[in-house]
Amino acid sequence: MFRPNMRVYVSLLIVFSCPTLAPHLVCANSTTKADEPLVASKPTLPVARRISSLIDEQIQSGTKDYAKLASPVCSDAEFVRRVYLDLTGRIPTVTQTRAFLDDNHPDKRAALVDQLLETPEYARHISQRLDVMLMERLRKKYINVTLWEEYLRDAVAENKPLDQLVREILAADGSGKGQQAEARFYLARDGDVNELTRDISRIFLGADLTCAQCHDHPEVADWKQDHYYGISAFLVRSFVFTDKKKKQTVFAEKAEGEVKYESVFEVRDKTSKGPETTLPVVFNGPKVAEPAFKKGEEYNVKPAKDVRPVPKYSRRAQLGHALTSSQNRRFARTMANRLWAMVMGRGIVHPLDADHSDNPPSHPELLELLTDEFTASGYDLKWYLRELVLSKTYQRSSSNELFASKSDQELSDAQFAHAILKPLTPEQFSRSVLEATGQAEVYRQSLKDKLSEAALRKNLVGYERQFVSLFGGLPGEPVEGFETTADQSLYLSNNGSIQGILSPRSGNTADRVLKIPADQPEQIAEELYLSVLSRRPDATETQEVAELLAGKTGATRNNMVSDLVWALMMSSEFRFNH
C-alpha cells in the first residue's frame, strides 16, 4: 500500500505523440499572378550538402535484398500528387497536373520541388504541421490563435532556423509587444509544470517521460525520475499571471522554488531517503548553474499584490538554450526524425516519442547522418525537406508486386522499401476536396485581381474547420495512425456542404466535364480523373465512364457527373497520400 506523495494533475495523454498532421493551404494557380509577397524574405538557396543519395545508400544497406524488395520509383502522376500534398498541403490543380505530366525535362521533379518550396502555400502547410506538432490542437487560452498561426507561417516563410523558432517560443512570456503569440505554447497549457514537462520531453526530446514523474520509468531503463525533474526545474518557478490593469495574461516567474521528488516505490518500500532536488538539466547534459544573490536582492521587480515579479535571474530563460544546445543531441535527432516521419509516413525511431535503447531506430546510422546534417545546415527546414523528397526512398511507389506473396513482416514499413500510405490530414483532406470538386477554382475566379493565398484561404477556411473538428481528434490527443468514425463517414456521405459543391457551377469540375462534347468520352474521363485523382484514367476506367454517361442528357447527365466526382473523391485512392 502506498501513498502517492506528489501532486499530480489529470491530464489527457497520448501514448504516442505523432506530429502527423498538418494543414496547409491555399494557393494560387500557377497560371495566375504572383501572390502578394510574404514577410520580406530571401529564398534560401540550398548551400548545404546534397544528402538525398546518402539517404538512399543508408536505406538500401539497412535491408538485406533491398533491391529485390523495393518498389520501383513512382510514376510522374504519383509524384506530382504526393509532393504537392507533402509540400503545399493539397492535391495539384488539374492545370498543374497536366503541366507536370506533359513536361519533358529530365530534371522536372527537382524543378517542381524548388518551385513548391517558394510558394505561400508551402509556408501555410508546413506551419500548420508544426502547429499540430507543438500544440496538438489545444484550444485557445489567453492568446489569440490567429496571431500564433501567423507567427508560425512567417517563420516558415522566411525559413527561420528551427532551433531558433523553438528558442523564441520557449523564451516567450507573452508580455512584450509583438511577441505575445509565441507564449501560446506555455499559456495554452496553463503553465502547468507537469503538462509542460511531459510535452517538452515528448515533442522536443523524443521521450515520453510520463511514467518518470513518480518513479524511474518502469519499462524504459534509460528514463529516470531525474530526467523528468531536470526539465521541471526550468519551469517550477513560473506561473500564469493576469495583470488586471493591462487585462493581459503572461507567464511570470519567481526567484525561488525548487523541484522536490522521491520515488513512490521507495516511499512504499520505506527505502526513501527523503525528497531530492535538482538544478535544471536537459537529460544527461550539464546542469545549469545559477548565480547567487544576497537575500532581498533577487528581484528587479519584487513580488507584491497584483504586481508581476521580475527576478534578476530567470531559470526558464535558460530552457530554450539548454534544449537546443550542441550538448543536447536529442533535440536535433528528434526534429530530424519527426520531419522524416512527416514525409515518409513513419519515423526511423518509431513511435516518435519512444527514443530509447530498447527501441532502436530502424536505420541507426541514417538517423545519425540526418541529425548531423540537419544541425550542420543550421536547422534549415527547406533544405532538409528538399533533400528528403528528392531521395529515391521518398519517390518509391506505394504499390509493390510482392505484397501478394510476402508477409507484412517481410515487407515491413520500417524498411522504407515502398512508399507508406499516409492518411490525409484534416487540412489536406478539406483543401483537396475543394480542389477536386473545383470549388477552389470557383473562388479563385471570383477573386480575380484580389487573388492571394490569404484571400483564397478566407473562402476555404470554413471547410477546413469542419474537417478538423471531424477528423482532427481531440485537443491534446490528435489522431494517431488511421481511424474512422461514424461521424466522418456519415458526413462524407450525406452532409450538404459536400453535396453542395459537386453540382456544376461555372468553372468547377462538373461544369468543365459537362462542357466536353458527349462524343469525346476519352476527354471526359481524362478531365474527371485528372481533376480528382491527379492521374489519367486507364482504358477500363475510360470505358466505365463512357458507359455510365452513354445516352444521358440534361439533369440525368449532370447527376451522373456529380456522382462520379463523389465516387472518385471518396475512394481510398483519394483519402490517402500514396
Partner: protein, 424 residues
C-alpha cells in the same frame, strides 16, 4: 472539481470512433464443424445474447460499494445494508441497487495485481495482461464478434458516454469497433441528402468501392479496408437510424432515471438493448478519488445508484434480463488505507465487481477478503477467470479457441477457469 490522478496514464480512450472493417464477415462464421449437436445448439442460442457493461472509470471503491467493512479501521464512515439477496450486504451508498441484488452476483476476490489505470483497464476489458506486440480485442468487440448476428445492419458495439477507440477491436476488424455516441446523441448526418435518390446513392457507393478496389491491388490494405468499411457501416446505420431516436422517452422515465447525463445514458442503453444491439457500454466517471474519497463517493454513487437499479429492473420487467448479461466494473478498486487527503488510492489486489442477468446466479457471492479488506482470503480470481465467466454466462464455451484470422486464439486465459459458483 476533478480528482487528481496518481499517475499520468489516463484510463479512457476518448477518441470517438468506429471503424469500418476487414471482410470479417467470413471470419465471423463460428465454424460448426467438429462440434457435437449440443454444442452447436448452444452456439446458436448464444446468438441472441446481449451484454451491457457499466464502466466506472477511475476505479470505484469496493469498500463503498460491494464489499463494505463498516466499523473497521479501514472501512470509512459508511454502514452496510441488507439487500434483496438473503445474507448479502452492500454499502449504504447503494440503497436502490440493494433492492435488485437478487438479480446480481458479486465477485469479491479479485486480484489483478495492477495499480495503473491503463493497464488495469486493459486487463479488465481483455481478460489478459498487456503483452508487447500482441493486442487483444476489448470485450465489446469480442462479444460483438461472437454474438452479433452476421450481416446485421446494427452496430455490434455501441459506447454511450464511455469513449472508445477504433483500436479496441484489433484483429477482429472495424466491424466490431465501438460506435461512440458522443454527447449522448445520435450521430449527425444520418439521413440521405435530399438531392439524392436511393438508387443514385447505391450506384455512387458501388462506384466508390470499385475505384478503391482498383487502387488497392498491389498495395497494403490495412488502412484502406478500414476506410472502405466505414462507408458500409454508414449505410448500415442509415438503414437503422430508428435505434438512435432518443427523443421519445416519457416524462415518467426521465424522472425515474434522473435528468443528469448518466440517467439519460442508461435510458439510451435500455433502448439500444431493446432494439437488439449486441453490446452496449455505459460510462460513469470521477471515481479516481485520491482525495476526498467519501464525499466523491456520496456524490458519484448518489448519481449512479438509482438509474443503474432502474435499468436492471426495467430489463427484468421487459423480459430482456434473461438473455442480457450485465457487468459493472472498472480498472481496479481502492486502497483499504485512507490517505492523508481522506482519499483512497489505486488497489488492484483485493477488490470486487458485480454482474447479473443471463447465465448468472442472482444473489450469489464468490470470494472473500479479510476483515480489513487488505487481502483476498478465499477464491482469488483475476481477469482471466472473469472472462471465462462472461463467456459461459452467455452460453459460449470459454475453453475453446476461436479462429478470427485463421490463427487459434484462446478465448480466455487457459490458466484460469470460470467462476462456477456464480453461474446459473
Amino acid at each position: 472539481m476533478r480528482c487528481n490522478y496518481a499517475c499520468g496514464s489516463h484510463d479512457s480512450l476518448s477518441r470517438r470512433s468506429f471503424l469500418g472493417g476487414t471482410a470479417a464477415g467470413a471470419l465471423s462464421m463460428l465454424g460448426f464443424q467438429g462440434m457435437t449437436q449440443a454444442t452447436a445448439a448452444k452456439q446458436l442460442a448464444a446468438q441472441q445474447k446481449q451484454v451491457v457493461v457499466f464502466w466506472l472509470s477511475g476505479g470505484v471503491s469496493q469498500l463503498e460499494t460491494w464489499d463494505p467493512k463498516p466499523g473497521t479501521e479501514t472501512g470509512g464512515p459508511f454502514l452496510s445494508i441488507p439487500t434483496s439477496a438473503p445474507g448479502v450486504h452492500i454499502s449504504e451508498l447503494l440503497p436502490y441497487t440493494a433492492q435488485q441484488m437478487h438479480h446480481l452476483a458479486l465477485v469479491r476476490g479479485i486480484n489483478t495485481k495492477e495499480n495503473n489505470h491503463a493497464k488495469g483497464a486493459y486487463i479488465m476489458q481483455t481478460g489478459r495482461k498487456e503483452q508487447p506486440g500482441f493486442a487483444f480485442p476489448y470485450l465489446g468487440s469480442t462479444f460483438s464478434h461472437h454474438l452479433a448476428p452476421p450481416n446485421s445492419p446494427l452496430p455490434g458495439y455501441i459506447s454511450v458516454g464511455a469513449g472508445g477507440s477504433s483500436a479496441e477491436s484489433t484483429f477482429l476488424g472495424p466491424r466490431h469497433a465501438p460506435l461512440v455516441l458522443s454527447g449522448g446523441r445520435a450521430p449527425n448526418n444520418l439521413g440521405r441528402h435530399d438531392a439524392l435518390s436511393e438508387e443514385r446513392d447505391l450506384l455512387r457507393r458501388k462506384l466508390r468501392s470499385q475505384v478503391s478496389q482498383r487502387f488497392e491491388q498491389k498495395r497494403k490494405t490495412a488502412h484502406t479496408e478500414v476506410y472502405n468499411e466505414s462507408f458500409d457501416q454508414a449505410a448500415a446505420l442509415m438503414s437503422r437510424s430508428d435505434i438512435f431516436d432518443f427523443s421519445k422517452f416519457s416524462d415518467k422515465d426521465l424522472e425515474r432515471y434522473g435528468k443528469h447525463d448518466f440517467g439519460r445514458h442508461c435510458l439510451m442503453a435500455r433502448q439500444l438493448v431493446e432494439k437488439g444491439v449486441t453490446f452496449v457500454k455505459v460510462g460513469h466517471t470521477n471515481y479516481d478519488t485520491h482525495s476526498e474519497n467519501f464525499n466523491f463517493h456520496i456524490e458519484q454513487l448518489g448519481e449512479f445508484d438509482r438509474p443503474f437499479a432502474t435499468f436492471i429492473s426495467d430489463l427484468y420487467d421487459r423480459g430482456l434480463l434473461e438473455h442480457t448479461l450485465i457487468i459493472c466494473m472498472c480498472e481496479f478498486g481502492r486502497t483499504p488505507r485512507i490517505n492523508s487527503r481522506i482519499g483512497r488510492d489505486h488497489w488492484g489486489s483485493a477488490w470486487s465487481i458485480a454482474l447479473g442477468g443471463t447465465g448468472i446466479k442472482g444473489g450469489a457471492v464468490s470470494g472473500k477478503t479479510n476483515e480489513t479488506g487488505t487481502k483476498v482470503i478465499d477464491r482469488e480470481v483475476n481477469g482471466g477467470h472473469l472472462f471465462h465467466t462472461y463467456y459461459q454466462a452467455v452460453g459460449l464455451d470459454s475453453t475453446e479457441e476461436f479462429y478470427p484470422n485463421g490463427q487459434p486464439i484462446a478465448k480466455a486465459d487457459p490458466k484460469t477457469e470460470p467462476i462456477k459458483e456464480i453461474l446459473a
